[in-house]
């Protein structure tokens, strides 16, 4: 900041010219204006409130009122009419529905469920999806995870049904009314940028710990994509077709049912797919607030660093994700579904019926399981002994983790925490304004200030340091791979299936392998975050680079540009929006995992949420959750160029 502001005072004649060219760039002008404002305001801020972390005078402690509110809710949960006649009913309906689905799944028996899933997958996405479904459910059973899988599935089924209903209704409203769309869109955009953890605490406050709040948190987390895509789908219908339909005398209802909805089919299916994937992701995380099933197994195993048990529960989660994704993305890309011979369908139906009738024991047969926990744990122990440290030349994973923590994270955290609070605010403002509009800047600054006001400045800076470091690593690796992907078709073909699988996996399961490799602490959380965010970054950046206007590429080739020149001077500038979007996604995704990283010793805001939940100290957890939301909002807005810029245009 000070360097930019000193330039004009020291400027000599040639410097003035350079400055003038610099000032012609709008971003530079904005930053300069901010720097001047900072120079004027900072001394006052320093004089009034000091220059350390966020000043106490400017913060409001919500702990007491929240604590008393929490106590009041706990005291009145069984007596107050609001709980008895409203929240109580909601809770009962949800619990009843989940239980009903669970009982039905158990009654179908393992054979019935497997064949039924195969039938649905075959119908929706073809033979390959059906085979995947059968194999996946078989593995779930083999790992002795049948019952937890069914519990997760039951919870998810209810959550997805509710999410789709809520999302579709909201999406319809936003798709048909401009005003609703204008109100809803920023809300939905923001909700998608917030980490899952931020949604947990408010529902816990009202509903306590259990299945009902888990389902509700899942619905809140998973409904936005459905609403968003429904609205977008309805809005993007060809106006020419709509006009033609109107010219034929269609009523509003006929226009919706016969033209708009069918034409939005692709987006609706994509919305369904995304909702299901996010519901799975959240249903697993919601184990923290009492959702049982696979997530709970992973959660318990991680808390005792029992990698074997975590893996045994993690594999079914991954398989479930793959099956659900393959099944629900089958029809959305427009290619016809390959179902093979119709007899396949009848066979599957027959097996379903047979399985339902014949299986005596509805549970997975006892003898058919493979115990993976022990061997995995032994392998992990071997790794601890042999790979963690002391490999000549390259050290070991624990060494790397220690170096990363000691040399990167600690200095960064200390630096951020030592940064004067007004400096941080100015920095965020400068970044946000340089990339986005005054609107995003304002939101970012207000969000950051809100964290300070809530009194979570220190832990927020801790989390922020982890996010920044992990984002930097993600972007370096991600852009490098993206360049490779954009340059070579073969790399792209090789990477695509890998990225597909990685993108479908819930955040939670990334924690398992990193714990095995790096132990606990901030480094494994960062590793998980990087791995989680990489596929999206590679995909977005790679597509952006590849779709750079071929004519521009051709003309630069014809002028004799080297590959490097072409990359730096043509592809990067042309793909600017995609690259910025990739940065935005990297920030959002990394934050979401860094927060869950608290479960493996990540510390920061996420730890306060977990701590609050574990101790029943909802006030701490709620304030931390709100801070997470603010941090997410700030990071999203700071890196959000395209939408703001496009809207301004």
């Amino acid at each position: 900041m000070s360097t930019t502001s000193t330039t004009p005072t020291l400027a000599t004649a040639p410097d003035t010219a350079r400055l003038r060219t610099l000032l012609r760039r709008p971003a530079a002008r904005k930053v300069l204006a901010l720097a001047v404002a900072g120079l004027v305001l900072a001394p006052f801020a320093h004089a009034a409130w000091g220059s350390g972390g966020w000043p106490h005078a400017l913060s409001v402690s919500l702990d007491e009122p929240l604590r008393s509110a929490g106590d009041w809710i706990v005291d009145n949960r069984d007596s107050h009419w609001l709980f008895l006649y409203f929240f109580g009913h909601i809770s009962n309906v949800i619990i009843g529905a989940v239980h009903l689905v669970y009982v039905v799944l158990l009654a179908l028996g393992w054979a019935g469920v497997t064949a039924g899933a195969a039938l649905v997958a075959w119908r929706a996405a073809g033979v390959r999806a059906a085979v995947t479904a059968v194999a996946s459910f078989a593995v779930c059973g083999l790992l002795d995870m049948w019952v937890p899988t069914m519990r997760t599935l039951a919870l998810m089924a209810v959550a997805v049904a509710a999410s789709v209903l809520v999302g579709a209704l909201l999406g319809l409203a936003a798709g048909l009314s401009d005003r609703t769309f204008r109100v809803l869109r920023p809300v939905l955009d923001t909700m998608q940028a917030l980490p899952a953890f931020a949604y947990l605490l408010p529902v816990v406050l009202v509903f306590g710990i259990g299945v009902a709040p888990a389902v509700l948190a899942t619905v809140v987390y998973a409904a936005p994509p459905m609403a968003r895509l429904t609205a977008l789908g309805l809005r993007s219908t060809d106006p020419g077709v709509m006009e033609a339909v109107e010219s034929l005398g269609a009523t509003g209802w006929q226009r919706l049912v016969t033209a708009r909805l069918p034409m939005a089919r692709k987006q609706l299916l994509l919305g369904l797919n995304q909702t299901i994937m996010m519901a799975l992701s959240m249903a697993v995380i919601a184990s923290v607030i009492g959702a049982d099933g696979l997530g709970d197994r992973v959660y318990q195993a991680l808390s005792t660093v029992d990698v074997g048990a975590a893996l045994a529960a993690g594999i079914p989660i991954v398989l479930l994700a793959i099956v659900l994704d393959r099944t629900t993305s089958g029809g959305s890309d427009g290619t016809p579904v390959r179902r093979g011979h119709p007899a396949v369908g009848w066979a599957l139906a027959a097996i379903t019926a047979a399985g339902f009738l014949l299986t005596r024991s509805h549970d997975w047969p006892r003898g058919w399981t493979v115990a993976v926990t022990e061997p995995v744990n032994r392998a992990k122990d071997w790794m601890v002994d042999h790979l963690y440290s002391g490999i000549p030349g390259i050290g070991g994973t624990a060494d790397w983790a220690a170096h990363y923590t000691g040399w990167v994270l600690d200095p960064l955290r200390d630096g951020l925490q030592a940064l004067p609070w007004w400096g941080a605010v100015l920095l965020v403002a400068a970044l946000a304004w340089a990339i986005g509009t005054w609107r995003t800047t304002l939101t970012a600054v207000l969000s950051l200030s809100a964290i300070g006001v809530l009194g979570r400045w220190g832990s927020a800076m801790d989390t922020l340091s982890q996010v920044i470091a992990a984002v930097a690593v993600t972007l370096v690796i991600g852009f490098a791979v993206a360049v490779a992907v954009a340059r070579s078709r073969r790399t792209e073909r090789l990477l695509r299936p890998v990225l597909d699988v990685f993108q479908t996996m819930p955040q939670f399961v990334y924690l398992i392998p990193v714990v095995a490799l790096f132990g606990v602490g901030r480094a494994p959380a960062a590793a998980a975050a990087v791995v989680y965010a990489l596929p999206a970054v590679i995909r977005i950046a790679g597509e952006g680079l590849r779709q750079a206007d071929p004519r521009a590429m051709e003309s630069s080739t014809s002028m004799g540009a080297t590959g490097r020149q072409q990359l730096l001077q043509v592809q990067f500038p042309l793909a600017r929006n995609e690259l910025l979007l990739a940065v935005n996604q990297a920030v959002v995704l990394v934050l979401s995992v860094v927060i869950i990283g608290a479960l493996v010793g990540g510390g920061g805001l996420g730890y306060e949420v977990v701590f609050g939940l574990a101790r029943g100290d909802l006030a701490t957890g709620l304030v931390a959750g709100a801070s997470i939301a603010c941090l997410g909002l700030m990071l999203d807005r700071v890196t959000q160029p395209t939408k703001g810029a496009r809207d301004a245009r």
């Binding site: 006009e243 010219s247 005398g249 009523t251």
Partner: protein, 457 residues
Amino acid sequence: MSGTDTVDRTPDAEPSRTADSKPARAEATSAERASAAGQAGNLAAGQAGNLAAGQAGNLAAGQAGNPAAEPARKPGGEPARTAPATAADRSPEPGRAPEPGGTPAPVFSVRNLWKVFGHRPDRVPGSDLAELTPEELREKAGCTVAVRDVSFDVRPGEVFVVMGLSGSGKSTLVRCLTRLIEPTSGSIAIDGEDVRSMDKNALRELRRHRAAMVFQHFGLLPHRTVLDNVAYGLEIQGMAKAERRARAAEMVDKVGLAGMEARRPGQLSGGQQQRVGLARALAADPEVLLFDEPFSALDPLIRRDMQEEVVRLHRDEGRTMVFITHDLSEALRIGDRIALMRGGRVVQCGTPEEIVGSPADDYVRDFVQDVPREQVLTVRRAMRPATLGEARGDTGPTVTAGTTVAEAIDVVARDGKPARVLDGDRCVGIVDFKCLLNVVAGLDGPQRGGRLEKAAA
């Protein structure tokens, strides 16, 4: 001759036709002629006229009707487009009773129509703001005038072409007719019924049954098959599935897409897609077909095909059509009358011959200057008065008054002698090499002189 000049739906109208010995007037409609016949005292023909007026362009009537309809529409393979249709031209003709309000009741009657886009548009029409240039208006009031004080009538059975360059307001105008775009002021009547005062239901009925539209970009539903797209309008009307599919199949057949019923729009070429659009519009059996630049997005060859398709449909069914285009040759090829628009205004409205032969202003003149005049203008325009001897004589070639100059050149060149122009049995003039060449060279008509004077001034 006289047998070919009318499009009568019933044989009862026959006597009146024989009495009417005027030349072929293709653009005159059955209703018009039948009402004339009714005035002449023929009750049966009068009834036929009522019937025809009620169902002008009705498919069933068109198909079941007198085969004589066809030659009337198309003498010599081209849609006949001969005498001007104004009442003034018609009055001296023998055999026709002088009619009060001689034109038939128009299908569409548009008066002082305005469409202004932008902020508070209703203050523009009729005020001082309307006098401003488009730029000034946008600056001052934030408005854009798309249609400016437009009035015209569309007569039953004619092809009324609205032509203009892009931005001239023609597409907005045609959308105002069924209020797909709400007009700012003025009046629109369909068969005398005020369109602007219609409520939602009446308007929907109008769109469902009376006026169907064909769009430049087809507007087909991508998720439906060809057959279901064609049946879509009927489905919206609530017709039962079997019935609407049967009817749609008939329409698909009619536009020449038989065998492609099960395809989707994405699998069709542009021309085929537009045929689907046409079939969809026809399926509802509307009184009027509205075309909004239907062939602009097509290749030239396919465009020609489609134009012929429309000409054929019009010849077969006599349906009233309003046709929007920016293509002058298209307008001349299919239009009975053409309204030329510029900047939201109608600068000239008349038959192709009037537009080409007597441009109203320099803009129109520039517009039509490249038109091959000999193919549009008729010998009526080229001929010189016959001397007594020439008029009496019955040797040498003859041409009818509706013949185009190009055809007359062919006749005169073959025989090497001047040809007599016959209106019925009467010789009304003579065309020789000189007068025909004058037309080709653009040296004919009083306008030419006027223009030269103007240029000199």
